[in-house]
């Protein structure tokens, strides 16, 4: 074929490879720019946070800018408490929903449930915050007592926010189980629930865990809705009950940013909080990605 086309064919080939090259370069520049942006942000944050980064900052007990005390240990613990609690609720509701959608749900029911869940993703966080402020907080205050603004309110709002992600990714993981495995289990006389328990869940385990971890990273970085419902005591503490109020890393930055003096230790400490939050979320995301990869190889 190539011989028959002769020189003309070669020329066309050359032009085409030139175009290929050009497109390749354009795509590469796109990819490079996103890497550069990430790198710039990390570098800028580290530079601004540097003067504040020491053990007194990470392990210090009190955050009280008025007294020049910038310890974030209690805030970190509060953040983990709020984030992990919310994710436990999400997992308790989300994973059974995913199993139901993937295995037990009739098609026409699924056509109603699935879009409603995906609609949840589109709710802006500030709207969820308003919902929390006007509905969840009075509900908690009237039925459980306390201030209303509480860790529990934060859990509920964050659970609503992260549910659709956990459900979609977990369902995908369950659907990725090869049909032959399922058929083999059923052929051996296993019931549908036994198949789910012994075959589907063990196979999709890593995918489900990854979805939970990704959601955890997301809720830890969430700011607006959490700040509106979590109560924010003036000096952060470790909440002792789920009706206690708390102050998390993101809400501290949001509340303090409006009046911080630039530059000051307070200012550098706020960047320090940002950096700590970034590393926590990055660590969670990397773990999740690693687990997905290992799951695929296995």
């Amino acid at each position: 074929m190539v011989n028959l086309e002769g020189k003309g064919g070669m020329k066309r080939e050359g032009q085409r490879s030139l175009l290929e090259k050009a497109i390749e370069i354009i795509l590469f520049v796109g990819a490079l720019s996103s890497i550069i942006i990430v790198f710039l942000i990390i570098a800028y944050m580290s530079l601004e946070a540097y003067p504040a980064l020491n053990l007194d900052f990470l392990l210090g007990w009190f955050w009280d800018p008025k007294k020049e005390m910038f310890g974030i240990f209690q805030i970190i613990v509060s953040t983990l408490y709020v984030g992990v609690g919310a994710i436990l609720i999400t997992t308790a509701i989300g994973v059974p929903t995913a199993i139901f959608l993937a295995e037990f749900c009739p098609r026409n029911v699924r056509n109603v449930i699935k879009p409603s869940i995906e609609l949840l993703v589109g709710i802006p966080t500030i709207v969820l915050g308003f919902f929390g402020l006007m509905v969840v907080i009075p509900f908690i205050r009237d039925n459980f007592g306390g201030w209303g603004t509480s860790v529990l309110a934060g859990w509920m709002i964050l659970a609503i926010m992260s549910l659709p992600h956990v459900i979609s990714i977990s369902e995908d993981a369950l659907r990725a189980v090869p049909n032959s495995y399922k058929e083999a289990a059923l052929a051996l006389g296993a019931t549908r629930w036994q198949t789910v328990k012994k075959v589907l869940l063990p196979y999709a385990k890593t995918g489900i865990l990854a979805s939970v971890l990704l959601a955890l990273g997301r809720v830890m970085g969430e700011t607006m809705a959490v700040t509106m419902v979590i109560g924010n005591p003036r000096v952060a503490w470790i909440p002792t009950s789920i009706l206690d109020r708390a102050k998390v890393l993101t809400s501290t930055i949001l509340l303090d940013w409006s009046y911080v003096e630039i530059p000051s230790m307070h200012y550098h400490s706020l960047f320090g909080i940002g950096l700590v939050l970034f590393f926590i979320v990055a660590l969670i995301d990397v773990t999740a990605t690693y687990m997905v990869k290992r799951g695929v190889i296995k």
Partner: protein, 305 residues
Amino acid sequence: MSWSSLQKTFFALILLAILVLGVHNTWTMSNLTSTVYTMQSTIDNLNSMLGNYTQRLEGYLTIAGSTTVLPIIQTCANLFMQENPGVVISVSGGGSGHGISAVSAGYINIGMSSKNLTTEQITDPDPDLQPVAIALDSVAIIVHPTNGFVDDLTLEEVEMIFNGTITDWSHFGGSGEIHVYTREAGSGTLECFEKFFMKHSDITGAASEKTSNGEMKATIASDPAGIGFLSVGYIDETVNPLKIDGVEPTVANIKTGAYKIKRWLFLITKGPPTKIEQAFIDFVLSSQGQEIVEQQGYLPLEWFQ
């Protein structure tokens, strides 16, 4: 890259639409502009004929800071823009601390503050900042309207509630935990509250932080066990302002000095104000501007001169 004829037609239609709309717009715009110019020159002629030629003000002003000063300046800005169609003013909150630091950094033209620059806790205030007092304000202690068991507090009782010594409404014949709300550390309202009430101690660390007068009012209006403090300009029927040592925080009582808590409100520029900044500040200080101050529930300057 093979386009179906449908896509081609669609694309062509869009191009056509852009072209037509574009031409149409330019035409209307140029028409409009010339009309405005004609009107402007007529007005200018009239003005010069009357021997009262004023130069037309044009430009942008950004104002931010204290949410206490915000309602006054928002209303003044709207009127000022009506009177000077060439001027666009954007007003936003953020708190006194934000107003001072943003004007100092040059992000905004005018900062609003309910803090006095000289008494302010900022370690080295920018020497270029020029504050102008525009009104006075006071701070009231507020509770939920259904809170029936407390109506009058002494200065000491307020301090004991806010520093966490008294934590239960049973102390006043009610029941339940007291929910103490405070403002973010940059707030001018907080500074004024601390100056008059928290003479010997700090606000308890357990108090919940709110970031504006509006948020404070909404919170107290919805929490039956709450107590907080608010600029008197924000008080309405959704919250119940308490008497302090038997004196109600009304404008009349503040004017006579019976209610002792009062503070100045400022507009701050960096360096001497520009022509347009000066024009706006003059407007706020004019009788028209001071009338707005009174309408909004604050105290005009002339009452204290």
